[in-house]
Symmetry: C2
Subunit: 333 residues, 2 copies
């Protein structure tokens, strides 16, 4: 055997090892999860419901997985990102609304006056949401959201907001879909806001995004039909509204649900109540260093009753600080 | 060559021919359609939007097809089948409601008194729908519908109601799905009524059935969560309500729509208004012999404005009598 031959052989062996290692890595599910109790519970659940002939087998069509969005799939601090979008939009829209320069709460939003904004309270915030989210067509609103997603940056991480999705949860979505699950978002967020980027960011198509809605009207504009978003609230997809909307939109009881706050409690209860093996999970924000730490006393994403019930019922509670190798994908860049 | 051999050879040749003919038949799309203008328009449309690299190509994810149900996928005479179900249910439920024996319109429904029913008008009918469709859990209602579908028979054809689906339209659903389309029902009928049998009868899963809804409430009963159907109307999925619900549930503009009445006009307009190649079709009930003949003056499934607009815009209008080889699958049995 010549030395060239031997070298080629060695090269080939190294190449094969590299390929095998890469295949093994690709095949290790949920790589951003430490091998803790939550990851184990997920793997065991998926193995059980996908094993044909097994006692817990669930046909693919019934493998419905529902996820809350804010605080479950992406961050929600220091403010729900959709509210940050609304505040940003006031500035974008201000040139067409000269009256806002003197009108609260718009003046405060334009000037970034946090004190005045806080003083305007929920009512003020709803005014801002109404003005920035409605009285336009569905298409126009979607374009606004897409533009914002492309250009806005999170104040703490200086990253686009869509980079603040949780890498472990993004992997979980893929893992479930790879095992025949259909993944849905069921969020208190407004549905068109999420649909504008959910496909690209989560791989979740618009028809699998369920959320809060404004009353939308069919209108003819210059002989062309449009759907006009009105400021009237149509449906508040939160708390007990979640199982109701799951039934309305999906018509099947999910077998897998993930949330992070009391607003997800009824969705988790409804999922856990189905006959057969069920998975109910909570993301617990325990990581002040890499993300935020909050639960029972938080104004945003309060986790109190649902934490008690999850503990009592043995639902999966993900300790973010301990169980996630990384929170965001950009941490490893 | 022995004669036995020759015989075997001939047998084999005949067998091959039979197999080939059967394959050819299976491959001929829409066999219950005569080769008229509507069938041609469907085939041409599907060929155009599925040809990769072609100017009209549409990616599979955007191949959304929406169908009205009553009068489009199944018959709707002499009365919407859901109303017949409601009237039948009054009799089923009567033993638990002794007061109905003397209370209109229930008395009329129990006694089959058409005159008294007609006198009770829309208000009376709504009372009957409310009493038979609500104040029960989603699961209980679904069970009632399934039981009715199994046992009730259409007065004219003496067939289960689900046998009164149109064979040509059932083939069309399969043909579209075989070409990567996602098929939806968008109907004025109540959603849970349709979901109880749509998967089995049309191959359309519950999450692709959109319809009129009652307000449903999340409740705890003996510590177990249930969804309770209340008598309050939630959404009337008819007329301009159809494009709105399409946007709400699907979040994409369909490229293909089929209806049969003025209640489908806005859905057809919304579909046709999308950029790129679009298909808008109407089933025209022209066949008094095999089905029913009605359009502009009918109380059920009135087709007047939509017929004018379809004519003006060159939408496909299916002349049932001329274009369908058979209306129902049982005709050939």
């Amino acid at each position: 055997m010549t030395s060239t031959c031997r070298m080629l052989q060695r090269c080939f062996a190294v190449f094969v090892l590299l390929v095998l290692a890469s295949v093994a890595r690709a095949q290790t599910p949920l790589p951003s999860w430490n091998d803790g109790p939550s990851r184990q519970a997920i793997l065991e659940f998926v193995a059980a419901v996908t094993q044909e002939g097994g006692k817990d087998y669930v046909a693919p069509a019934d493998r419905i997985a529902v996820f809350d969005n804010d605080g479950t799939l992406w961050s929600e601090q220091p403010l729900y990102f959709q509210l940050i979008f609304a505040l940003d939009q006031v500035k974008v829209m201000a040139p067409k609304h000269p009256e806002w320069a003197e009108e609260q709460p718009f003046k405060a939003a334009i000037e970034g006056d946090r004190q005045a904004l806080a003083a305007a309270g929920t009512e003020g915030l709803l005014k801002i949401v109404g003005a920035t989210h409605t009285n336009m067509t569905t298409g126009a609103f979607s374009d606004e959201v897409k533009q914002w997603v492309k250009t806005a940056h999170h104040p703490r991480f200086k990253q686009p907001y869509t980079s603040l999705i949780y890498a472990p949860m993004r992997e979980l979505l893929d893992y479930l879909r790879g095992n025949g699950f259909k993944t849905y978002i069921v969020s208190g967020g407004e549905v068109e806001f999420m649909r504008a980027w959910a496909q690209e960011v989560y791989g979740i198509p618009p028809e699998q995004v369920i959320g809060t809605t404004f009353v939308t009207e069919f209108q003819m504009q210059d002989g062309k039909p449009v759907l006009m978003r009105t400021p009237k609230l149509d449906y508040n997809d939160d708390g007990p509204g979640k199982p109701v909307s799951i039934n309305k939109f999906i018509g099947r009881q999910p077998i897998f649900a993930f949330g992070n706050s009391d607003g997800d409690l009824q969705m988790l209860q409804w999922t856990a109540a189905g006959s057969g093996k069920r998975f109910a999970g909570l993301v617990h924000h325990t990581d002040a260093k890499r993300e935020w730490a909050y639960d029972r006393d938080s104004k945003i994403g309060r986790l109190d009753k649902a934490l008690d019930e999850a503990t009592n019922k043995g639902w999966v509670i993900v300790d973010m600080a301990k169980e996630w190798k990384r929170v965001y994908a950009f941490e490893n860049q």
